[in-house]
């Protein structure tokens, strides 16, 4: 009876020990999930839009023929689910917890005390920190997972010969499937074997074993470099761990080192004789502190904000963009471009643009930059304006500029649309056929397929039919130095294109070119306004007051508020030596303030 009681107590103790460990892993899962799902979700959308996972044999083969290709293939398979951001957060949380459990299992193989369970979270926090970088690829985490799994397999083998055999077999395989993360496994084998040989007093063999293992590790990338078109530093450091091929961040190596050494470090710590709770609390504090420091320094919330705007534009959430800007006005050209587009799409650009921060024409239609990010919102603006060729160009160039040569689901979709609108059906079909091989674009592609060669159906499509009507009728060479004229030609082609008119006026107002504003303004009579938009009133009244003492005879119906405010503005401007702070408070949301105080 007594024996049974003792066994029961032991089981309960074990169960409770397991429970607190499970509890902490669950907390880790929830923290990661909430971080990515709640605070950093746009980074997930960003990752998703810079790849195009295809269910296609050639796509698989393309990956399998390079070192680390399988890990990349799996990671791209997972990243496609980031299309729904909460699923992406769950995937990352699960992956991180599996990594943590593997670190712990490895530490346990070296007889780590349970009390140090929380230390197995530290390498995960370093990985978490790395993944906050928008250019960090999930393939790195998957490769580490492969490496940890192989390390666990290795340490589970009892016989020395089996372990030797496993290194000979697994190191090249691991290199091929997981890329340069095989160095983690080699490092692990070196430490394990050296430790064993030292314990067995075979000190002479240690040097030989280490040398052989290092050679083994180096041989894999060096041999593959004989026929692969990659610089040797990439074969050594990982082809697909970072988006920019010419650079591997130091963090990659630090994270790898932490995953390698922590299982040994944890197992080398002696269990505390008393104050077990204190040890756990101390570890928790270390975790919280390191997590806070690393994540707050790693997470770039400015970029997250810009990506959020871009995501909202992609999903045509115009009202949400405006609400977001009302809470905090964006200041980067990227965010401002998205906001102005939302204002344009909802017919508020003329009324409200100066209520928000404006950074000149770069916040309306930014100049083309040879990168893979900034042309995307600009291409959206051109698209909705009806400048289909220019939208196509910006989209195409953005995709072509993706540093790791990936394709983009978002860009493919847009290119299919621009080609459908332009009647380039063979090219559209090419993009659509490829999108049919995806999970999240398949339905759209199937539907788009029915529009091919069907002029009537395209004309009846709410968006494509409308954009077809807006396109230029005549061909000419597009000039990005005369954007206002390009917009004018577009508007003159179809007076229903009020957005083109508003962008044209916004462009000249933000250029502070009142002469052109006055030239273009009369064209607004065709746009069907029921009132003169606020910023135009402000510009008109400003022009009027430059040559007139009062408002008598003014040919435009300016609201009494605007007339009153311009008088007050002028009074403060003239009477106060340092009027800017006062005017900023009272009239910071007017064209007058933009005109006189905003830096060019």
């Amino acid at each position: 009876m007594n024996k049974i009681h003792i066994n029961m107590e032991r089981k309960i103790t074990m169960l409770s020990q397991r429970r607190w460990k499970i509890g902490f892993s669950v907390i880790l899962w929830l923290s990661v999930f909430l971080f990515w799902g709640r605070f950093y979700p746009s980074h997930l959308s960003y990752q998703e839009q810079l790849q195009l996972f295809l269910f296609d044999t050639d796509y698989l083969i393309e990956h399998l023929i390079i070192p680390g290709g399988l890990a990349e293939y799996i990671s791209e398979f997972l990243v496609q689910f980031y299309y729904h951001r909460w699923i992406g957060a769950a995937i990352l949380a699960t992956l991180f917890v599996v990594l943590q459990l593997l670190v712990w299992l490895l530490a346990q193989k070296h007889k780590a005390a349970d009390v140090y369970y929380l230390l197995s979270f530290l390498p995960i926090i370093s990985m978490w920190y790395f993944m906050t970088d928008e250019n960090a690829m999930l393939a790195f985490a998957v490769s580490i997972l492969f490496a940890l799994g192989t390390m666990y397999l290795h340490v589970s083998l009892n016989s020395q010969w089996r372990r030797v055999l496993s290194v000979v077999l697994f190191a090249p395989l691991l290199y091929w499937f997981a890329g340069a993360a095989h160095f983690l496994f080699i490092g692990w084998a070196i430490i394990c074997e050296a430790k064993l040989l030292y314990q067995n007093n075979k000190k002479l063999a240690i040097g030989g074993s280490i040398a052989a293992l290092i050679l083994m590790g180096l041989a894999c990338p060096l041999i593959s470099g004989l026929w692969l078109q990659y610089p040797i530093f990439r074969l050594m450091g990982g082809i697909n761990f970072y988006r920019f091929p010419s650079y591997i961040p130091l963090t990659v190596f630090i994270v790898e080192a932490l995953f390698l050494f922590f299982p040994f470090l944890i197992s080398s710590l002696s269990p505390p004789k008393k104050n077990v709770h204190f040890a756990i609390i101390l570890q928790s504090l270390i975790l919280i502190m390191s997590g806070y420091v690393l994540l707050s320094s790693g997470a770039d919330m400015n970029k997250e904000e810009a990506m959020e705007y871009d995501w909202l534009v992609r999903n045509k959430e115009w009202q949400k963009i405006i609400e977001k800007a009302e809470a905090k006005s964006p200041t980067s050209p990227f965010g401002v471009t998205c906001l102005n587009l939302a204002l344009g799409k909802t017919g508020q650009l003329g009324d409200r643009m100066f209520q928000f921060y404006q950074n000149g024409t770069e916040g309306l239609l930014p100049h083309f930059q040879r990168d893979f990010v900034s042309p995307l919102p600009t291409s959206e603006v051109f698209y909705y304006l009806g400048m289909i060729n220019t939208a196509q160009r910006f989209t195409f160039e953005a995709m072509e500029a993706i540093p790791n040569y990936n394709k983009s689901g978002r860009c493919f979709k847009r290119l299919a649309e621009t080609n459908l609108i332009n009647g380039q059906y063979e090219v559209a079909a090419k993009y659509i056929r490829i999108l049919r091989k995806t999970v999240f674009y398949k339905d759209w592609a199937e539907e788009a397929m029915t529009y091919l060669y069907n002029e009537k159906k395209i004309s009846n499509h709410k968006e494509w039919g409308w954009l077809r009507k807006l396109r230029y009728a005549d061909d000419f060479l597009f000039s990005d130095r005369e954007i206002d004229m390009m917009l004018g030609l577009l508007y003159q082609h179809n007076y229903q294109n009020r957005m083109a008119f508003e962008y044209m006026l916004a462009y000249v107002l933000q250029e502070r070119d009142l002469e052109r504003f006055m030239k273009y303004y009369p064209l607004g009579k065709y746009a069907g306004y029921d009132h003169i938009p606020r910023s135009y009133q402000e510009a008109l009244v400003y022009v009027w007051t430059q040559t007139h003492r009062n408002f008598d005879g003014m040919p435009w119906s300016i609201s009494p508020d605007v007339a009153h405010e311009v008088t007050d503005f002028a009074r403060i401007y003239m009477s106060q030596q340092n009027s800017q702070p006062i005017l900023h408070t009272q009239y910071g949301d007017t064209f007058w303030y933009y005109l006189l105080f905003k830096k060019k």
Partner: protein
């Protein structure tokens, strides 16, 4: 054990047989057979890789294709809509059928019914097509490039290798690879460590083909038949973008002249006649005997506003190699003003009989002009063939001759209007040009999925004696030789 093995063998046979559909109760149909590539009634060389194709009729789930020659027959039955021949069977079959007309019978299963379509033919000719074609693989973009590769494909099979890869040369832009007689070849790599990589006598050199008198480094060029010289244009190139419809990119020159580079003495041979600031000269090429330089010439107009008026004539000027001297008189062979078109890319056939060139409405960037067509000038008779059997309603450009002058390769956007593919056309003894065929692919669906354009296909009888590793070494380690 033996009984077991035999049982397994027969079971496998039965399974294979069951998996390979064979036509039953075949019904003849007048429906149009839609195949990609469009290989119906084409002329092919005896040394070409298998002409695999897709059957694009809706609902095809099994195919049976019979290629019947004079002496033998090739048969495939397969699930799906792909007709893919075995390389080994094809090579031995087609070698026996030189000079014969093959009849291709296609039977396809649609909704469980086997339909036999109207047969078509392949004319196999005994004139060899040069076995290698090099090209640049690039996204048909506007101004941005990312991954660029020069590749070499064996036309007799599906072997392909990389000649140069810009991921090994700091991501720099690299121009297309062209070759001359005797397996010499060259291409430009841009950037501070770049230059013109010249492959001559099996040795790679890096040259800086720019002198203080030249308005730019060498751009478009061609070898003299003896390989010692090459003629180049030097161009100030401006890209511009079209606003409407299916028009895309326009590229024009504001300045362009001609020079000849002497690779033995590292010297540029110039002529004031071909450096006129009021005239644009470009796309030079040597005649087969090396005594003439054919090129395109246009009077400078106000650009970009009058881009539609920029039209290039086809001209020639003499070159005396022994005296290293340009001629002093320019002959106009094709007058742009009279013909209301613009000539680009003249290329003389190695036997000296023909000059192949492109004609578009205006400008100097025919690749994005869908009206661009190839034309063939018989230098013996002066007659121009408009090549109606070769051209399509999309651009046909960047051609090169096979060393026996019986074939030429060219890039055409006829597939979808955007992605260029390599086509080959046969010129028979009578000077008749036959219907071209596209470069065969191992998987005929590849052209659908491949998002790269094939730029400037260049034929050669032999493989190039270098690869991307050699290019990387020269790029990294060799200092470009200067020219005077």
């Amino acid at each position: 054990m033996r009984v077991f093995n035999i049982t397994i063998f027969f079971c496998a046979l039965v399974i294979i047989q069951a998996c390979t559909p064979s036509p039953k109760n075949v019904r003849l149909t007048n429906d149009l057979l839609v195949i990609y590539p469009e290989y119906k009634d084409v002329t092919i060389p005896f040394n070409v890789a298998p002409l695999n194709f897709l059957i694009r009729n809706e609902g095809v789930d099994a195919v049976s294709v019979e290629v019947k020659g004079v002496s033998t027959c090739l048969q495939i039955n397969a699930k799906g809509n792909k007709a893919v021949f075995s390389q080994k069977d094809w090579t031995s079959f087609i070698a026996k059928e030189r000079g014969h007309k093959l009849v291709i019978k296609v039977i396809a299963r649609i909704n469980g019914e086997w339909l036999q379509y109207r047969s078509f033919t392949w004319q196999v000719v005994a004139d060899r097509l040069d076995a290698y074609v090099s090209f640049r693989l690039i996204e048909p973009g506007y101004e941005v490039w990312n991954k660029l590769q020069l590749r070499e494909r064996c036309i007799e099979n599906f072997d392909e290798r990389v000649l140069a890869d810009n991921s090994q040369t700091n991501g720099q832009c690299m121009n297309c690879h062209i070759h001359g007689k005797g397996n010499s070849s060259m291409f430009h790599i841009r950037g501070s460590k770049g230059g013109t990589l010249l492959n001559r006598h099996g040795k790679l050199r890096k040259l800086m083909l720019k002198t203080s008198q030249m308005n730019s480094a060498a751009v478009y060029g061609d070898f003299h038949p003896d390989g010692r010289y090459a003629v180049f244009s030097t161009n100030t190139i401006i890209p511009a973008l079209h606003a409407q419809g299916n028009h895309r990119l326009e590229v024009y020159d504001t300045v362009s002249d001609l020079v000849i580079a002497d690779f033995d003495r590292n010297k540029m041979i110039t002529s004031p006649l071909l450096a006129d600031s009021l005239t644009l000269e470009t796309f030079p090429t040597f005649s087969a005997d090396g005594k003439w330089v054919f090129y395109c010439s246009a009077p400078l107009v106000d650009l970009p506003s009058n881009i539609n008026e920029l039209r290039y004539s086809l001209c020639r000027v003499a070159f005396e190699a022994e005296q290293q001297k340009w001629g002093s008189r320019v002959d106009t062979l094709w007058n742009a003003r009279l013909m209301q078109g613009s000539v680009c890319h003249p290329k003389a056939s190695p036997d000296g009989r023909y000059l192949l060139f492109t004609v578009s409405r205006y400008g100097t960037f025919p690749i994005w002009h869908r009206e661009t067509d190839l034309q063939l000038l018989d230098l013996l008779t002066g007659k121009i063939d408009k090549l109606e059997r070769v051209n399509s309603n999309r651009s046909e450009t960047y051609h090169s001759w096979s060393s026996n002058s019986r074939w030429f390769a060219f890039a055409s956007k006829r597939g979808d209007g955007q992605y260029g593919r390599v086509y080959f056309a046969y010129v028979d003894e009578m000077g008749q040009v036959h219907k071209p065929f596209v470069l065969p692919q191992k998987d005929p669906e590849m052209d659908d999925l491949n998002l790269k354009s094939y730029n400037i296909p260049d034929l050669s009888a032999m493989p190039m004696p270098f690869d991307s590793h050699d290019v990387k070494r020269v790029y990294d380690e060799v200092v470009a030789e200067k020219f005077k």
